[in-house]
Symmetry: C2
Subunit: 454 residues, 2 copies
């Protein structure tokens, strides 16, 4: 037998998809912009990122896609939302926070939240998010099993939070039942599912007694599931806690043993220096929701301080009742702009850092940084392609800058989730958007009292 020469051309490898964008921004290594490169996808995973000429010699793709005016980035990871609340988009705007909750949102939810409402609202949210380049979202809402089902049906990645409180709702009657239903979701229904992960999501520190938090912590530790909670969103929340417990919410959670690397603090608008140091020391992560914090007049979170201390800061849109879109491009831009103003320094947060917040840092905040958030071989092929040819993004000196400071969601041309091509040249190819729009409008009529529940 003649040994094969090392100079013989190697056989071409089959792959599912070869994507060749004008620019590829892998996010890790930070700051890198690849020109004339291809991203290779097979079986839902990124298998290679290499120069286009090498790709042509090495891979034989089923589908090959040129995107000559486009930048390819990791799919956006929306670190915090309440997806079904798209049905309440603009329902109670321009009200002070207390009135917004007590007179607007909560009575409407009490009247209308149901499995059907959650399905219809979540589908509207997922369609909007896929259209805008979001490939993963972390949710916190009633009927989380329905949220998970919708995510699987419409094929988007989701980190599904089980609401945990101590009073009965239509979904569960007691703390025990909330915890049981959460365990079921984590353990039985979606264990090792390729798209779904879970977390426990107490609404705020006021949602549970000390005993309740301890019970939650024991279960979360046992199941190895993270906890996400609205924390220090408003000055009022901190005041109320001080009055009731003598402690700020963060300190109370710390004493109850919840301050650790499994904790995702949502909002974190008002934090003292010692709290920031403690968060860094214990690897607590943050979900920053700047537009919601402005709209509800909660304040501007000191994310430059968090980042300087080494705290992971992910980015989220919050729900559509307080934003009012689930648009991560807009959220990323405003996060960058606000950070500069808050820090009194125009170089405080660069476009590169903002993109990392919206992708890899968000993934890290959800404990998913090994699986998604950057374009690296081995990770899921969760990818977003953005067209920079529209006039308002021209000319292009720096694609990262144009992406962060000029691009709008309509410029997202293609989205892949675990290799599935969910948005193709701006079309949501697998989603019945007419039905979603019609159901959204029916819910509007119910919420407004124009039609009664049938």
């Amino acid at each position: 037998m003649i040994p094969q020469s090392r100079y013989t051309a190697r056989p071409m490898k089959h792959c599912d998809t070869l994507i060749s964008p004008r620019w590829c921004i892998p996010v890790r290594p930070s700051g890198e912009v690849l020109l004339e490169h291809a991203v290779i996808v097979t079986d839902g995973r990124i298998v290679d990122v290499l120069p286009l000429t090498d790709a042509g010699q090495k891979y034989q793709p089923s589908i090959s896609l040129d995107r000559p005016d486009h930048v390819l980035i990791p799919g956006f990871v929306n670190a915090h939302t309440h997806a079904a609340m798209t049905l309440m988009r603009g329902f109670a705007d321009d009200l002070p926070l207390e009135a917004w909750l007590n007179e607007g949102i909560w009575p409407a939810e009490k009247r209308w939240v149901s499995e059907d409402m959650v399905r219809d609202g979540t589908e509207l949210a997922i369609a909007e998010m896929l259209r805008g380049g979001v490939t993963c979202f972390s949710d916190q809402y009633w009927y989380p099993e329905t949220v998970a089902e919708s995510a699987v049906d419409l094929h988007i990645r989701a980190n599904v939070g089980t609401p945990i409180i101590e009073f009965p709702t239509a979904w569960a009657g007691s703390l025990t039942e909330y915890l049981e239903k959460g365990s079921e979701l984590v353990h039985d229904a979606y264990a090792d599912h390729p798209l779904i992960t879970s977390c426990f999501a107490p609404q705020s520190s006021a949602a549970l007694s000390d005993d309740g938090f301890v019970e939650l912590r024991v279960l979360a530790d046992q199941l190895d599931v993270p906890i996400q909670i609205h924390l220090h969103e408003t000055a009022k929340e901190i005041e109320n806690s001080l009055e009731k417990t003598g402690m700020r919410p963060f300190e109370r959670l710390n004493q109850l043993g919840l301050v650790n690397s499994s904790l995702l603090a949502v909002h974190a608008v008002h934090m003292e220096d010692d709290e920031i140091a403690k968060m860094a020391e214990t690897s607590v992560s943050i979900a920053h929701c700047p537009q919601s914090n402005l709209k509800l007049a909660s304040g501007i979170a000191p994310i430059i301080d968090y980042r300087a201390a080494g705290v992971t800061v992910g980015l989220g849109t919050d729900g559509a009742a307080s934003n009012n879109t689930l648009d991560m491009l807009s959220e990323m831009r405003i996060a960058a702009l606000l950070a500069k103003a808050r820090a009194d320094d125009a170089s405080a947060l660069s476009a590169t850092a903002a993109l990392s917040m919206a992708t890899l840092d968000s993934a890290a905040s959800l404990g998913l940084a090994n699986d998604i958030g950057s374009i690296e071989a081995g990770k899921w092929a969760d990818l977003t392609c953005v067209n920079l040819s529209p006039l308002h993004s021209q000319p292009v000196y720096d694609p990262v800058s144009q992406l962060v400071y000029t691009a709008r969601a309509e410029q997202v041309s293609d989205v892949w989730v675990a290799g599935h091509h969910q948005l193709e040249n701006g079309d949501l190819t697998h989603i019945d958007t007419a039905s979603i729009r019609a159901r959204g409008n029916e819910w509007r009529q119910r919420f407004s009292g124009e039609i009664s529940w049938s």
Copy 2:
């Protein structure tokens, strides 16, 4: 002769265009949302706003347009920009203000600004603005006569500012020459032009000596032309003035006789209470540019205080080198959100108030409120139509809220400027966008040193 019965049907009147949107928001009266109404346009003017059924009996239009998912509003008035700087979009991002100006923008301008550069950059800006629903912009840049020409060529309304300084540039050699060229623009070239008005635009209080300001004031009074100036944009600007003149810039302008109803203070980020009272008393207007103020870390202007005092606050995008788009929908949303956060009150600035800022108040700040800024019979037919059917704007509880908090520029379907249909169903029908894009890219190559000037 038999007298005509008063009950005989009146003859139908001819009109150019009948537009029937789902919702019409005239902006004046404030808060009004008209359903099943038509707007009638003839000879470039709005001639009637009336119920659709009446319109069918009264008018015989050449063109009749149904916009069944759309909201019709007055065209956006961009109260402050430097249009040609679109060519420097993203050229020097994420730098502190001093470095941005001294190392990025100014050397590049010194090297490259010319009549051709201003034409190409201004056309890019105009195309972007028309696409995004802007029907009028106030500009401040070199070669203002070229800005005016481009505006007329591409048919958009412009308030063209003549730069006034005391040092020589490629465009003019001395204060006298700047003033002469400005007078020419106001007096000879565009007097009574239907699309063009003018103003004098000293860059900042540091641009002129006391004598220079007095000379400018005398001429502006004589020609009855407004003055716009960057004023109290940064804390540093105020410091420098205090050091050099012993006065804050506003106080200095006041002593020199420039603080009056002809003054448009651009930015006005840092104003003391007594200065606000003085602005109200003297009817000074403000051009608020929130995104630029964030991006350059200048601060957040106290527009709730201005409005409470009775000061007119218009809205502008500033130039694309510091924003980085000329997108008034985005500017309007951020203005509303920031005002809430700055005032610590989620009801501080409503969606209705934000829309008024971006249209009628901007028009008023430029002295054009009798001609544009609202949908009223007699005003120019400067109109913008926005489609609210995309999923991220659904469902629609309140069209004003959806417009301000969810709509993106791609949803602008139609734009009329003085009755000319410049954007039709999302297409810039009269503009060669390929040529504009190509020229933009050539300038990028020159600015980046990739090609030399030919």
